[in-house]
């Protein structure tokens, strides 16, 4: 779920600072969505998912409009990607996992693993673009196409899952 949520946003990244921007938006949306749903975990009405998206959008738009917009390189069509980032696939998916968690600390542990994995993907992709675009003089490269985002996220997901299996 973490990988699926990252892919649409990864396509907007075109440098290191846009990687940082979208990783912040990804983290905020995930935090707000999952915490909203954690607070509403006893509610069965599906309208709580709409509430989670609206809450995440409010925070994301505030970050984009007040703190980050116009100050840094923000990738392609940043306003559109602020909308996309509000629908946090990973954040909403936590609602399915709440019944498997053993208390709030267990939730926090998984939350930070997912957040760190997502942010690692953003920075890996941003760093790859930073290295290769400089050497190729900003010509259209492999990283100009969305398939590069999908392949990078898939490779990162494989490596991270193997690393986590060894660590945990």
């Amino acid at each position: 779920m973490c990988t699926i949520g990252v892919i649409p946003l990864l396509m907007a990244v075109d440098c290191l600072s846009s990687a940082a921007l979208y990783s912040v938006l990804y983290f905020t949306a995930m935090s707000v969505s999952s915490l909203s749903l954690y607070a509403l975990k006893n509610v069965t009405y599906r309208g709580k998912y709409l509430f989670a998206v609206v809450a995440a959008f409010s925070f994301n738009y505030f970050i984009y409009a007040v703190l980050l917009a116009g100050k840094y390189c923000a990738g392609g069509s940043p306003q559109m990607f602020v909308f996309i980032s509000s629908v946090s696939v990973a954040g909403i998916y936590f609602d399915y996992e709440f019944k498997h968690f053993n208390g709030f600390l267990d939730f926090l542990k998984y939350f930070f693993i997912v957040a760190a994995s997502g942010m690692a993907m953003f920075f890996t992709y941003g760093f790859l673009i930073y290295i290769f675009n400089d050497k190729l003089d900003n010509k259209i490269t492999f990283f100009s196409y969305p398939c590069s985002a999908i392949i990078t996220s898939a490779v990162c997901a494989l490596l991270i899952s193997r690393l986590l299996k060894k660590m945990i």
């Binding site: 779920m1 699926i4 892919i7 649409p8 396509m11 907007a12 075109d14 599906r46 309208g47 998912y49 709409l50 998206v53 609206v54 959008f57 738009y61 392609g76 069509s77 306003q79 559109m80 909308f83 996309i84 509000s86 629908v87 696939v89 909403i92 998916y93 609602d95 399915y96 100009s144 196409y145 969305p146 398939c147 999908i150």
Partner: protein, 179 residues
């Protein structure tokens, strides 16, 4: 990188291996899965057309900003999906059925970029149809690959993998052709 057809491609590809996993999660029956995909496609078309008309009639007149329109699109997508589920007596629910990227982001993209009503109609219908088709194909192939994974020989599984790669290739070809 961010072309006019970016979200067409994104929806084609995402519907293939992203939404299929989300919608198909813990679902072995095809009917509820297909209902969810079809309902979301219809909502996508209705939302796109309705908000495009509202843009000129209402939002521009009262200078309503995009962020408020996004919130209205989200609410509209949720309630339309729920209404259709109720009419179709859908009962096998997953968490992403009522609110997801398909019925929410694509209408917003068209709201921001489309120039005429005909553009909106054709773009949203194409995306909706592609979404249903690709999702159904991926669900069918994945389920058959899973069913045959234990019982069938390696060659059968290999054939299913080839079909999946073919679909990926088709998605990429469409993207490179239009961009």
């Amino acid at each position: 990188m961010f072309g006019e057809y970016f979200l067409f491609f994104n929806i084609l590809l995402f519907s293939g291996f992203g939404v299929e996993i989300i919608f198909g999660h813990k679902r072995s029956d095809f009917r509820p899965y297909f209902t969810v995909c079809a309902v979301n496609s219809i909502t996508l078309v209705i939302n796109s057309i309705a908000f495009f008309f509202l843009r000129d009639l209402f939002f521009a007149k009262y200078a309503l900003k995009e962020q408020y329109v996004f919130l209205m699109i989200a609410a509209s997508a949720f309630f339309l999906n729920e209404l259709f589920f109720m009419l179709l007596r859908h009962s096998d629910f997953n968490i992403f059925d009522s609110i997801n990227l398909v019925s929410l982001v694509f209408p917003m993209q068209l709201y921001l970029s489309a120039k005429s009503a005909a553009d909106v109609f054709f773009a949203s219908s194409g995306a909706g149809l592609a979404f249903v088709m690709f999702s159904s194909l991926f669900f069918y192939i994945k389920r058959h690959a899973e069913d045959n994974g234990d019982s069938a020989d390696d060659f059968t599984v290999f054939c299913y993998e080839m079909i999946l790669f073919g679909l990926f290739s088709a998605s990429f070809s469409i993207f490179f052709r239009v961009v």
